[in-house]
């Protein structure tokens, strides 16, 4: 079920009414069934996979906790992680692996047979697999007590607000909240409603309005002028951000209405003034997962500069591959890895140079944010392109066919609308840094009502009601 569908607008109030009317185990059962129903709305045939992974990790965690000996514990952990990764690998990376192997063999003069299986990619598999894995690792590390109730654990994995596209909520964060009946809080629910509404605006008005402009350019970049391609890259940066953070806002907002706090997943990432800052603001639940369970496990920054760079690069390459079964995603991760490595390597020299320049800090921050944004945009080209050829064509087009003219830009009205929408988004995010102004707004119910009404009218006037899927569903 999509958040931006009529079905969800019917589902959620009905669920909420039943949820508020129930208590204890009944509420958990209701939440679990509703979550499975939400998932099955898309395709019920893949529910058993979710049940299997949930059951496996629940029982593995319980046994892990009881086992005192290191060797068998490690083997049991390996069984759990191996099974989870094997399932993820099979469903998501099978054809990618086969095609990559065939390509490699061809490079050495061998021809491997073509293997094709009709595999349906289970929506959200990357999210719930990582979530479930983190629980087992936490129990293994002794950081979390195993959950005694399968019902509660299953609800934490399947809770519909985060099931299909995150955020990746750690069990240690969500399970305690499921242990008590969350009381309904009007203020928190109002905040959740406002956040969800803003998420709908980001998705329906901004992301879905930008999508057709981006799609047209990336379909055949060779036939478009450089200015159109450049705009498409900028637009994609905001499309992917509004699509995913919009989904997250709806998820977090709905969770707040139910009484759960799922944390923060995006924190105005395009205002980041460094690449490490960007990753503290972009898809925080994934970047912190990769940091805690991969980067630190690899040794983090504890084994010298060279090993730190290798660890950073590996983490980002795997992070790229997590997004999709294509080498272009790996290249996206590789670019971000390179940015992080370069930033880390050059940080002392850059700091000295900036101090020598005596530039005002605000100017330095602004220029840095612009540079980071453009480097991030360059990486988005690989993220969006279907192939390296397309990515190269986009870059070539921008580099060689860009004139400071909008004459060849088609759909000027939609382009103008897109620019206005991006300006609204950036203005709102820039204003949100002024915490005192935000606090004043929050303290005035009339202003909050007006803001909410403005968002509804904005969606009605500027929304694109294509019913488009969320980009991150495919991951």
């Amino acid at each position: 079920m999509l958040f931006n569908s009529l079905a969800f607008l019917v589902f959620f109030p009905l669920f909420l009414a039943a949820y508020l009317a129930s208590r204890g185990a009944v509420r958990l059962w209701l939440t679990l069934f509703a979550s499975y129903f939400f998932y099955a709305w898309w395709d019920w045939r893949l529910l058993p996979l979710l049940w299997f992974q949930t059951g496996l990790d629940f029982f593995v965690a319980r046994y892990l906790h009881r086992m005192p000996v290191t060797g068998p514990r490690r083997r049991l952990l390996a069984v759990s992680l191996g099974t989870n990764l094997a399932l993820l690998g099979f469903f998501k990376y099978f054809h990618f692996g086969v095609e990559s192997a065939r390509g490699l063999a061809r490079a050495f003069g061998f021809e491997l047979p073509e293997v094709t299986l009709s595999i349906l990619l289970p929506v959200g598999i990357s999210f719930y697999t990582f979530q479930s894995m983190s629980y087992v690792i936490d129990v293994y590390r002794g950081e979390v007590e195993p959950e005694p109730s399968l019902l509660r654990f299953a609800t934490s994995v399947a809770l519909f607000v985060h099931l299909v596209a995150g955020p990746i909520v750690r069990a240690r964060h969500l399970l305690p909240q499921l242990r008590v009946d969350q009381a309904f809080d009007v203020e928190r629910a109002t905040g959740g409603f406002e956040q969800a509404l803003w998420g709908f605006f980001k998705k329906i008005a901004v992301a879905d309005s930008l999508a057709p402009l981006v799609d047209a350019q990336f379909l055949s970049p060779g036939t478009h002028d450089g200015m159109s391609l450049l705009l498409a890259v900028y637009f994609y940066a905001f499309q992917v951000y509004c699509d995913f953070s919009g989904y997250t806002d709806i998820a977090l907002g709905c969770a707040k209405i139910l009484g759960y706090d799922l944390g923060v997943n995006f924190d105005r990432p395009y205002f980041a003034s460094s690449f490490s800052d960007f990753w503290r603001r972009w898809h925080i639940s994934l970047s912190s997962w990769l940091r805690d369970y991969l980067y630190i496990s690899l040794g983090g920054n504890r084994r010298g500069a060279a090993r730190t760079y290798v660890n950073l690069m590996l983490t980002m390459l795997i992070g790229g591959l997590w997004h999709g079964a294509s080498w272009t995603f790996v290249a996206w991760g590789g670019l971000h890895g390179s940015y992080l490595v370069l930033e880390r390597a050059l940080r002392p020299e850059l700091g000295r140079a900036l101090r020598a320049l005596r530039a005002p800090p605000a100017l330095v921050r602004g220029v840095s944010a612009l540079l980071v944004f453009h480097a991030v945009c360059l990486a988005w080209i690989f993220f969006r392109a279907q192939s390296f050829g397309t990515a190269a064509e986009v870059i070539r087009g921008i580099a060689t066919r860009t004139e400071l003219s909008f004459a060849q830009v088609t759909n000027k009205f939609l382009v103008t609308k897109a620019i206005v929408l991006i300006a609204i988004l950036v203005a709102v995010e820039a204003l949100s840094f002024r915490t005192s102004a935000v606090a004043r707004l929050r303290a005035r119910p009339a202003l909050r009502f007006a803001a909410a009404a403005l968002i509804v009218w904005g969606i009605a006037l500027l929304g694109t009601f294509s019913g488009a899927n969320f980009i991150y569903f495919q991951f």
């Binding site: 508020l20 309904f184 809080d185 009007v186 629910a189 109002t190 055949s220 060779g222 036939t223 478009h224 002028d225 004459a407 060849q408 759909n411 009205f413 939609l414 103008t416 609308k417 009502f449 007006a450 909410a452 009404a453 509804v456 009218w457 009605a460 006037l461 500027l462 929304g463 009601f465």
Partner: protein, 304 residues
């Protein structure tokens, strides 16, 4: 809990009331301004247009039948009501609405390759449903979901590209549209090697074409059915082009002539892409039409 729920319902009620009131007020404001725009459909809806040359069709008619040049050649006002993705069925509704409020045109020009188009423009023209009986009837039949959404939120009528254009052209006319760029060498090269394709025609559009022909005959309006030029390299790949044109001819009726200029322009520099002329091509093509007598109208229609 009961107090909390009361507070929630109060807040929801207050927000709903504010949204509703603002929506109606905003939509009423837009409704008030829309007919005064110089945008083509506002001009048509306002009524009172003199006998003229009226152009209908999709983006090929927008760019291929360049109004200022046609006007210069025809010696009478030209109103281009064509729009991107306008199907024949939508063109029929636009024509019927036009005839209700304006003097019968001396010539109606219909670019007939829009028989391929789906009916997406019905929703695009949502803000004009209120002003146009035939369009509204078409919307009732084809866009029930949008109809329902409009009942809920009137401002939704102003969602989309067309209201933005109506706003942009609030004070100056929109009749000078034409692509002002050339086909890119890459697209030209790609076109030369593109795969052969088949052209299609939607049955409802073919039926609408027949009704347009009959309507023009009834109202004694000169009707010109035309195919504006395609990029020859592209047109050559249309496998069924002769059969397709024959199908359109059949739908129009045996006595209706189709002015076929599909291969009339050979120079790629006169195209913006595979199917659209540009400003270099628009003017000479208008001259060609005039020279061929395409813009000559019957004395009988002049009287009306």
């Amino acid at each position: 809990m009961r107090a909390s729920l009361r507070a929630v319902f109060l807040r929801i009620g207050a927000l709903a009331a504010l949204v509703f009131a603002g929506d109606r007020a905003l939509a009423a404001l837009f409704d008030l301004g829309l007919p005064y725009s110089q945008f083509r459909y506002s001009v048509a809806a306002r009524g009172g247009q003199p006998p003229n040359v009226l152009v209908l069709g999709d983006s090929r008619a927008v760019n291929g039948l360049y109004s200022p040049e046609l006007e210069r050649r025809a010696g009478v006002p030209v109103l281009n009501l064509a729009f991107n993705a306008m199907s024949t069925l939508v063109a029929e509704a636009v024509l019927r609405d036009y005839l209700e409020r304006n003097a019968p045109p001396r010539i109606v020009v219909l670019e007939v390759t829009n028989v391929q188009q789906s009916q997406v423009l019905i929703d695009g023209l949502m803000c004009y449903w209120r002003l146009s009986r035939a369009l509204a009837a078409l919307a009732d039949e084809r866009s029930p979901a949008s109809r329902r959404a409009l009942r809920l939120l009137h401002t939704y009528a102003y969602n989309g590209e067309i209201p933005l254009r109506a706003l942009y052209y609030a004070r100056h006319p929109d009749q000078d549209w034409i692509n002002r760029y050339r086909i890119s060498p890459a697209l030209l090269e790609e076109t030369r090697t593109e795969a052969d394709f088949d052209l299609s025609a939607l049955p409802e559009n073919l039926e609408a074409l027949g009704r347009i022909v009959a309507l023009a005959r009834d109202r004694r309006i000169t009707l010109r059915l035309v195919v504006v030029p395609y990029l020859p390299e592209h047109w050559a790949h249309a496998r069924n082009r002769d059969a397709w044109l024959a199908e359109i001819r059949r739908a129009a009726g045996s006595d209706a002539r189709i002015w076929d200029y599909s291969s009339a322009v050979a120079d790629p520099a006169q195209f913006a892409d595979r199917v659209h002329l540009n400003d270099l091509g628009g003017a000479p093509f208008a001259a060609r039409l005039a020279a061929d007598g395409f813009l000559a109208f019957d004395a009988a229609s002049r009287r009306e």
